[in-house]
C-alpha cells in the first residue's frame, strides 16, 4: 500500500513539475520574422536575359528567315547566301556601338574588316558608295547597320563562315531572345505600365461580356501615334453592343493621352506597328 502511494505521488509530482516547467516555453512567443519582400528592379534593357526555352531550332529557323528578308530589303540584290550570320554580327556591333562612342569599332568589326581586305569586292564600288551614303543619312539607331551589312554581303562567304561560327557561339542566347517577342519583357512592361496609367476604364461596362478591344497602332520612332485602327470595327455599331463602342473609345483616349508612348529606343522596324489588346475583364470582374 505504502509503496504504491509513494510511486503514485511521485509520478503525479513529476507530471506537475513537467507542466510547470514547460510553461516558460509556452510563454515565449515565437519570433515573428516579417516575410522577406523581394523587390525586382526591372531595367529597361535592349535584351532580356532569360534562359531560353527548349524551342531553339524552330526559333533560330525563324530568325534566319526574318534576317533573310531584312537583308534582302536593304542590301542590293546580291547573293544572299549565309546572310543570317551577318546580321547577327551586326547586331553585336550595334550593341557595342551604342554603349560606346560611335567611333569605337569593336572586335567583331575588325574581323569583318579583315575579311574585307582579304577578298575582292564583287560589287560595283559606285553602288556601294551610294548605299553607304544613304545609310549614313538614316538614324544610327537602326536595328541593322546597313553599312556593315552591305560590306558583309560583298565579301566572300568562306571567311565569313569563320566569323559565323564564332559569333554563333557567343551570341546564342541573345539571338534567341530577340526573336521570341518583338519587345523584350522589360520593354513590354514599361509600355504596359505607361498605358495602365492612362486608361480610364468606364465603370459602367457590363462585367460579364466580352470586353476585348484590339487596336493596331502605327508609330513614329519617338513613340507618337501616326494612325490607330480598331480591329473588330464592325462590332462598334452592332445593336446591343453599345458598350463596345464606349470601351473602344476609352482605349483610344488612353492611347492619345499616353503619347508619346514608351517605346524601345532601338529596333523601330520591330515595333513601328503595334497591336494593343485592351481587355477590361480582369478589372471589372473583380
Amino acid at each position: 500500500m505504502n509503496r504504491s502511494l509513494i510511486i503514485s505521488s511521485v509520478l503525479h509530482g513529476a507530471l506537475i513539475l513537467i507542466t510547470a516547467m514547460s510553461l516558460p516555453f509556452l510563454a515565449k512567443k515565437p519570433l515573428e520574422i516579417p516575410p522577406i519582400v523581394s523587390v525586382e528592379l526591372i531595367q529597361i534593357a535592349e535584351k532580356t536575359n532569360i534562359p531560353f526555352a527548349p524551342k531553339a531550332k524552330k526559333i533560330i529557323e525563324k530568325v534566319k528567315e526574318k534576317e533573310k528578308k531584312l537583308v534582302s530589303e536593304q542590301a542590293p540584290p546580291k547573293k544572299v547566301k549565309k546572310t543570317k550570320t551577318k546580321t547577327v554580327v551586326s547586331v553585336d556591333k550595334n550593341e557595342k556601338i551604342d554603349s560606346k562612342t560611335p567611333e569605337a569599332i569593336p572586335l567583331p568589326d575588325k574581323t569583318v574588316k579583315k575579311i574585307e581586305t582579304k577578298k575582292e569586292s564583287k560589287q560595283n564600288p559606285d553602288k556601294l558608295d551610294k548605299e553607304v551614303k544613304q545609310v549614313s543619312e538614316f538614324e544610327k539607331k537602326e536595328f541593322v547597320d546597313l553599312d556593315n551589312i552591305a560590306k558583309l554581303i560583298d565579301k566572300a562567304k568562306e571567311d565569313t563562315a569563320e566569323v559565323i561560327k564564332k559569333n554563333n557561339d557567343i551570341t546564342q542566347d541573345q539571338d534567341k531572345n530577340i526573336v521570341t517577342s518583338g519587345l523584350t519583357l522589360s520593354e513590354e512592361d514599361a509600355l504596359k505600365a505607361q498605358i495602365f496609367g492612362c486608361w480610364s476604364i468606364p465603370l459602367g461596362l457590363p462585367y460579364n461580356e466580352n470586353l476585348l478591344v484590339r487596336i493596331k497602332l502605327m508609330l513614329e520612332p519617338d513613340g507618337s501615334v501616326i494612325k490607330t485602327e480598331i480591329l473588330d470595327h464592325a462590332r462598334m455599331n452592332r445593336p446591343g453592343q453599345g458598350f463596345y463602342k464606349v470601351l473602344a473609345e476609352s482605349a483610344l483616349r488612353a492611347v492619345k493621352l499616353c503619347q508619346p508612348l514608351r517605346v524601345p529606343t532601338t529596333g523601330y522596324e520591330r515595333w513601328k506597328e503595334l497591336q494593343l489588346n485592351f481587355d477590361a475583364r480582369e478589372m471589372l470582374e473583380g
Binding site: I16, L17, T19, A20, M21, L23, P24
Partner: protein, 163 residues
C-alpha cells in the same frame, strides 16, 4: 531561481482555471439578475398593462418565433376568463415584431403572433366573431432602445378592447 519560476507558473495555471470557470456568459447573468428575460422571451412587467385585475394585456415571443410560452398561455387563459365574464366586449389582438427584420416579413410575423393568441383564446371558448387580428409589424415599438431587452419587449401580441 527555477523553483520560484515553477511555483509562479503553477499559481498562474490555477488562477487561470479559476477565472475561466467563473466566466460564464455575462449577459445571462445580468439578465437573470434583472429577471426580465428567459430564453429570449420577455418575462418582465414593465410594459404590461392590465385589462382587469390580474389580467395582463399582452404576451411575448422569442426572436422569429410565434410559439406561446407557458407564461403566455397563463395570461391568455386569464384573458379568456375575463372575456367570458364580459361577453359584450370585443377585442383586437395587435401583433408586433422587433426591428431586427425586414419590414414586410415583420408585418406577416406580427399577424401570425396575434393569430397564435387568437387561436388559443378560441380554444377557451371565445368566439372568433369577438376577436379580430391586426398586425403592426415593427412600426409601433413600445421600447425605442436598440438592445435585446428592448427588442424582447417589442415582440408581443396585445389584446385591446374594441368597444
Amino acid at each position: 531561481m527555477i523553483l520560484s519560476k515553477i511555483f509562479k507558473n503553477t499559481l498562474l495555471i490555477l488562477a487561470a482555471c479559476l477565472v475561466l470557470t467563473a466566466c460564464a456568459t455575462k449577459k445571462e447573468v445580468s439578465d437573470a439578475i434583472q429577471g426580465q428575460m428567459q430564453s429570449d422571451v420577455y418575462t418582465g412587467t414593465d410594459t404590461v398593462e392590465y385589462l382587469a385585475d390580474g389580467v395582463p394585456d399582452r404576451v411575448f415571443f422569442a426572436t422569429n418565433e410565434t410559439i406561446l410560452t407557458t407564461a403566455s398561455r397563463e395570461t391568455l387563459r386569464a384573458q379568456a376568463a375575463w372575456l367570458r365574464k364580459n361577453s359584450s366586449i370585443n377585442v383586437v389582438l395587435e401583433g408586433h415584431a422587433d426591428e431586427r427584420g425586414t419590414r414586410e416579413y415583420n408585418l406577416a410575423l406580427g399577424e401570425r403572433r396575434a393569430n397564435s393568441a387568437k387561436d388559443y383564446l378560441m380554444t377557451y371558448g371565445i368566439s372568433s366573431d369577438r376577436i379580430s387580428v391586426l398586425s403592426y409589424g415593427k412600426e409601433r415599438p413600445v421600447d425605442a432602445g436598440s438592445n435585446p431587452l428592448a427588442w424582447s419587449k417589442n415582440r408581443r401580441s396585445v389584446t385591446v378592447k374594441a368597444n
